[in-house]
Symmetry: C2
Subunit: 167 residues, 2 copies
């Protein structure tokens, strides 16, 4: 069964410091905490065939940290992961993806509330915005085989860095 990890970007610079929200980078603390999360995933033995990331700087930097730690060789910008993106676009990508194999692991790096909403749609078929997803937090979903993922997935992980790394 394929496993999908939805990862929220780390702590980023304040909006007041940047004219364009899309340009906000991770802070030093954001980089450090994100690195610890990535290292812990690596230590547990997780490996991603591919990491798709939102085009925004704070998400791309998060995905790059995951790549640098050795969690994946491939990072691709995926436009629908930008804030407000449509999950159906990702589902269409997945159903035709070369990564859609029995035991594949893949990661999406993006934003709230979208990642929580996408998760609820995958698992329960609709979203009520009921998942609390912290920065550098991780959601884990198993995708069904031989059927469409919306409403057919299951939730196996939801964690903030607080629970996941030893700070």
């Amino acid at each position: 069964m394929a496993q999908l990890y939805l990862i929220r970007h780390g702590i980023a610079a304040e909006r007041t410091e940047y004219t364009n929200d899309v340009d906000r980078p991770l802070t030093q603390i954001g980089r450090e905490k994100t690195t610890k999360v990535a290292q812990r995933l690596k230590a547990i033995g997780v490996n991603f065939e591919v990491i798709l990331t939102s085009p925004l700087v704070r998400a791309r930097q998060t995905a790059e940290i995951f790549q640098q730690v050795g969690l994946s060789n491939i990072v691709e910008v995926f436009q629908p992961l930008a804030p407000g993106g449509d999950i159906q676009t990702w589902v269409n990508w997945w159903l035709n993806s070369p990564y859609n194999t029995e035991n594949s692991h893949l990661a999406l790096v993006g934003h709230q509330p979208d990642l929580g909403n996408w998760t609820e749609i995958l698992v329960w078929g609709n979203s009520q915005d009921k998942l609390i997803v912290k920065k550098a937090g991780i959601i884990g979903v198993t995708l069904p085989e031989n059927t469409k993922p919306i409403g057919g997935s299951e939730l196996f992980l939801l964690t903030a860095p607080k629970w996941f790394i030893k700070s």
Copy 2:
């Protein structure tokens, strides 16, 4: 906001070894893994005003380990946490409980699929059996203030021991 932790009992002896399912104790590995989970919660700073446990031996032993580690001074057997128990009984207890205060933390120790179903009912109002809850796994839910918890709660944690402890 009050926080409710739903904790599944640890790994227990096989059904074939015991005439009555209710008597199955934790195995040695089950005790060790459960202790590590409890110690990790303690190290993070969690403390429960009360732990309610299913009357079954494997759940009571799990709750006792949590108490021994110092996570709570009070463990009470709560009959509706036995397999197939009705969440409404717990809701009624909670709404009239002295523990129902603004920032209280409490834990329920019980069984699958009930704990996952109770969580879905608290958060989304109904259950589709979509949460994967491993033995000694933890679910974390925030309960709403001044309103009934069913359909008004939020999910902030779902983790198997694999993600939570360093084995």
